[in-house]
């Protein structure tokens, strides 16, 4: 439960949110269901849901980080394209 909580917090910390990430939405739903399973003393169900929710959240986090790293590459690529263009302009004049 604690691990799942942590994974959810970490995913939010890197900027994942349930509106954009179906994985995080799943994680949150399963986390809620896991807690109610705990309350019903249905411990096995609770454990499974916690475990799944944890990995859903970790995947959501990883996806955000991948997207961010891709965005950084895009920025770099745009800058390089701009620099190349300017260098060409310079040679032309």
């Amino acid at each position: 439960m604690r691990l799942t909580q942590q994974a959810l917090e970490q995913a939010s910390a890197v900027g994942a949110n349930a509106d954009e990430s179906p994985e995080l939405k799943l994680a949150e739903a399963k986390f809620a269901r896991a807690k109610s399973s705990m309350a019903d003393q249905s411990y096995k169900n609770a454990r499974m849901r916690f475990e799944q929710a944890e990995l859903d959240a970790r995947l959501a986090e990883a996806q955000v980080l991948t997207r961010k790293s891709q965005e950084q590459l895009n920025v770099l690529n745009a800058r390089i394209t701009r620099l190349r263009k300017q260098l060409q302009l310079g040679e032309a004049q």
Binding site: S69, L87, G90
Partner: protein, 271 residues
């Protein structure tokens, strides 16, 4: 593991226990198959093995567990569960790998960017020196005026082609001066403001003025000024410095103004 053998043992079991739900019912069978396919893919990917070995191992462990459980009765839910975990680990492994690869790509691109930046600096320097006015330029101070908005430098219309946002090469000296000035004054920040004359539509003017300001900002960033130090605004045909009645007045109004902050980085409020 072979689905065929498992299917077979299931059939045998079914023969003896008609009602005891066999573990390899279609759901768990399918889940196992999918998890196994995913695992196979990450396992065979050299990059994934290099960057995310732990995730791969966990995917494999969960899969093995699901596989083992699939030979027991009534364990369908467990099989599906561990197959699910395995698939998640495989997916996470792929994400981690992509991140690491992007990191590597980023390092290479950053080197390339620095190389080009240096080349561009050199290039501009050479072109300035060729214009033979470098010394003169060293002595002449920046063409700035102190206004109530702070230190303001105006880049005139001649530095752009009509209707274009691209800064012409004749602006090189001025641009280099600004870069040099900002490098010597690391705390100072600038606001680059674009203005247009009143010919053309309001929206086009706003866009052109903003694009021109942005292209000045881009050149500064390309030459190594941190983009956090640069704000960009477009004001369209607002705040003319001359009446728009004459061509001369309109030319004066088509301009980019660079507002410098004080030494502490305090910039006057935007208009």
């Amino acid at each position: 593991m072979s689905p065929m053998i498992r299917g077979l043992s299931c059939a045998v079991l079914l023969g003896t226990a008609v009602l005891g739900g066999c573990a390899t019912h279609p759901d768990s069978e399918q889940a196992l198959q999918q998890a196994s396919n995913d695992f196979q893919q990450v396992k065979e990917d050299a990059n994934v093995l290099r960057f995310a070995p732990k995730d791969v191992i966990r995917a494999g462990e969960s899969l093995a567990r699901a596989d083992r459980l699939s030979s027991y009765w009534g364990s369908g839910a467990d099989v599906v569960h561990y197959a699910y975990l395995s698939q998640r680990y495989s997916a996470i492994a792929r994400e981690h790998t992509e991140q690491a690869l992007n990191q590597e790509r980023g390092v290479k691109l950053e080197l390339e960017r620095q190389r080009l930046q240096l080349a561009l600096r050199e290039n501009k320097l050479i072109s300035v020196q060729q214009q033979g006015k470098w010394l003169e330029e060293q002595i002449a101070s920046l063409a700035t005026t102190q206004t109530d908005r702070g230190l303001v430098m105006t880049l005139g219309d001649v530095l752009f082609d009509t209707g274009e946002a691209e800064l012409k090469n004749s602006a090189n000296r001025t641009v280099l001066k600004i870069v040099q000035f900002l490098q010597l004054n690391p705390k100072r920040v600038v606001r680059i403001e674009g203005y247009a004359d009143n010919t053309g539509g309001e929206r086009e003017n706003l866009k052109l003025s903003r694009d021109r300001a942005q292209s000045v900002a881009d050149v500064l960033v390309d030459l190594g000024i941190d983009e956090k130090r640069i704000q960009v605004e477009g004001y369209g045909d607002q705040y003319p410095v001359e009446a728009n009645a004459s061509e001369r007045g309109r030319a004066q109004n088509r301009r980019v103004e660079i507002v410098f902050s004080d030494e502490k980085g305090q910039l006057g409020a935007a208009r």
